[in-house]
């Protein structure tokens, strides 16, 4: 008897990514650079978030040709993004055989009310969250992995830091609560009670939680690991930098040895210019990707 698509199989896949870096790529060549640099997975996209931001308009699932090109180029897992609530994009990506789907706020949402019922799929999902309530709503819908939303495509770490600190502090709060406080907390956070009970008992999130949305340097990656991330996603930070190959390798090493400051110092030397960053307060509210999803 073999059971596919169980929680253990879907969440376990994310467990194997821990301590690693997942990189956004737009073609086979970039995917190979990422794999060579030591990425644990790649996210196949038509455009990296910084370019999605620049292009404007509606951002959709990538052309399956690009996803397949990336899948054929590397042996590490390949992830791809579907629009929030877009059942068909997700089903198409599942049938293509991608290893993980990101139901992502980087793309334009297809549904303003409902996220996908991710428990329906054999393929596992990762979702973004700004706080514990949002994180647990996504797990309640069947997400097998979480990430901070941050503010994608800005090269500005401040939002990812905010979201990681928020989740960690709420996690500690729940762990220290008595059982009779949990139902009210579940109501306040908008989180399923059973998941909060699980957190109280284990003292940790039920799934792996990565950092994403604004990581541009080795120090950024190390910072997020110190704040409690299990690993990092780097979107625009690598292929929008001066030397993608060098940045990719340095970010991988800084993630592994996130407390070795001599090493991170050495890794940061002569890397060239990181991606151009954006100050969050200069973003128009309509340009804030983190506010997509609910």
């Amino acid at each position: 008897m073999a059971d596919r698509g169980t929680d253990r199989v879907k969440r376990g896949m994310a467990e194997m990514q821990k301590g690693g870096v997942i990189m956004d790529v737009v073609n086979a060549e970039q995917a190979k650079i990422a794999e060579e640099a030591g990425a644990v997975a790649v996210m196949a996209l038509e455009r990296v978030p910084a370019d999605i931001r620049a292009a404007g308009g509606v951002a959709r699932m990538a052309d399956p040709t690009i996803v397949e090109e990336v899948m054929n180029a590397v042996s590490i897992p390949v992830m791809a993004k579907a629009r929030i609530g877009h059942i068909v994009e997700a089903k198409v990506l599942e049938s293509l055989g991608v290893d993980y789907i990101d139901e992502s706020e980087v793309l334009t949402p297809a549904d303003e009310v409902y996220h996908l019922d991710k428990s329906e799929y054999t393929v596992p999902f990762v979702c973004g969250a700004r706080d514990l309530g949002e994180a647990m709503r996504r797990v309640g819908e069947g997400a097998s992995m979480l990430r901070t939303k941050g503010e994608p495509g800005t090269g500005n770490i401040v939002e990812a830091v905010r979201h990681m600190r928020m989740v960690q502090s709420e996690l500690k709060k729940i762990s220290g609560m008595s059982k009779d406080e949990l139902m009210t907390e579940a109501k306040n956070l908008g989180a399923p009670y059973e998941l909060l009970l699980d957190i109280k008992e284990t003292g940790k999130l039920p799934v792996v939680n990565f950092a994403a949305g604004g990581i541009a340097t080795p120090s950024d990656a190390s910072l997020m690991m110190q704040l409690g991330a299990d690993g990092v996603f780097v979107g625009s930070g690598i292929f929008k930098s001066d030397h993608p190959d060098k940045f990719a390798r340095a970010i991988v090493e800084a993630t592994t040895h996130y407390q070795d400051y001599d090493l991170i110092g050495r890794l940061s030397r002569g890397l060239g210019t990181a991606m151009q960053g954006i100050e969050i307060s200069n973003l128009d509210p309509s340009e804030r990707m983190q506010d997509r999803g609910w």
Partner: protein, 201 residues
């Protein structure tokens, strides 16, 4: 007292630490080569084998790990860890650490949607051992000196060559700690033998 390390370059490290817990056993997370010196046994966790190999090279773990195996100290590899240990990898020119006389095929079941869990009989470990296979490798061939411990659908998924133990699946993702405790016992026996030899000489 035995001291067992979990190689922590990348992958599911804490899960192994949890499953290895036993009386009179200290479990440590290994990130630097100098930590290998006072270990009696070592675990290669699951993760991405290409990433781990790059970090093994980057931090000069390659020779020290081979020496660890040559010193007859027990090593247990799961999934990516098994790939690191194999002499030969199907479709690739060379194996990684080349410790165990076996041919391994990566992602042998296909992609993540083909990943699954089941229960297996594992020689020496027990019946109905919970086994989670994630983008798992298979052992296609083994040498005469390698003992097959478990098969799934006629294919080899766990093997042992003297003090070297490897499986394609992830016992560390379950609450069933029998496989890890089997390894802890291997480490204990290996240490006793080594101590006896030392006493004689």
């Amino acid at each position: 007292m035995v001291k067992i390390g979990v190689l922590a370059l990348q992958g599911a490290v804490q899960e192994h630490v949890k499953s290895l817990k036993a009386p009179e056993a200290e479990i440590v997370i290994v990130k630097r080569v100098d930590q290998l010196d006072d270990l009696d046994g070592l675990v290669f966790p699951g993760g991405e084998s290409t990433t781990m190999r790059r970090l093994v090279d980057k931090y000069d773990f390659f020779e020290p790990l081979q020496k660890f195996a040559q010193a007859k100290k027990p090593i247990f590899g799961t999934c990516a860890g098994l790939i690191l240990m194999a002499n030969h990898i199907v479709h690739e020119t060379t194996g990684h650490l080349q410790m165990v006389n076996m041919d391994v095929e990566r992602n042998a079941f296909g992609r993540q949607r083909e990943s699954f869990e089941t229960r297996l009989s594992v020689k020496g470990v027990g019946e109905d051992v919970e086994a989670v296979f994630i983008r798992a490798p298979l052992i296609r061939n083994v040498g005469e000196d390698v003992d097959v411990l478990a098969t799934y659908d006629g294919e080899i998924v766990a093997a042992c060559q003297g003090h070297l133990l490897a499986c394609s699946f992830h016992p560390e993702l379950t609450d069933d700690t029998r496989f890890h405790q089997y390894f802890v016992q291997m480490v204990r026996e290996s240490k006793e033998t080594a101590d006896d030899t030392l006493a004689v000489t």
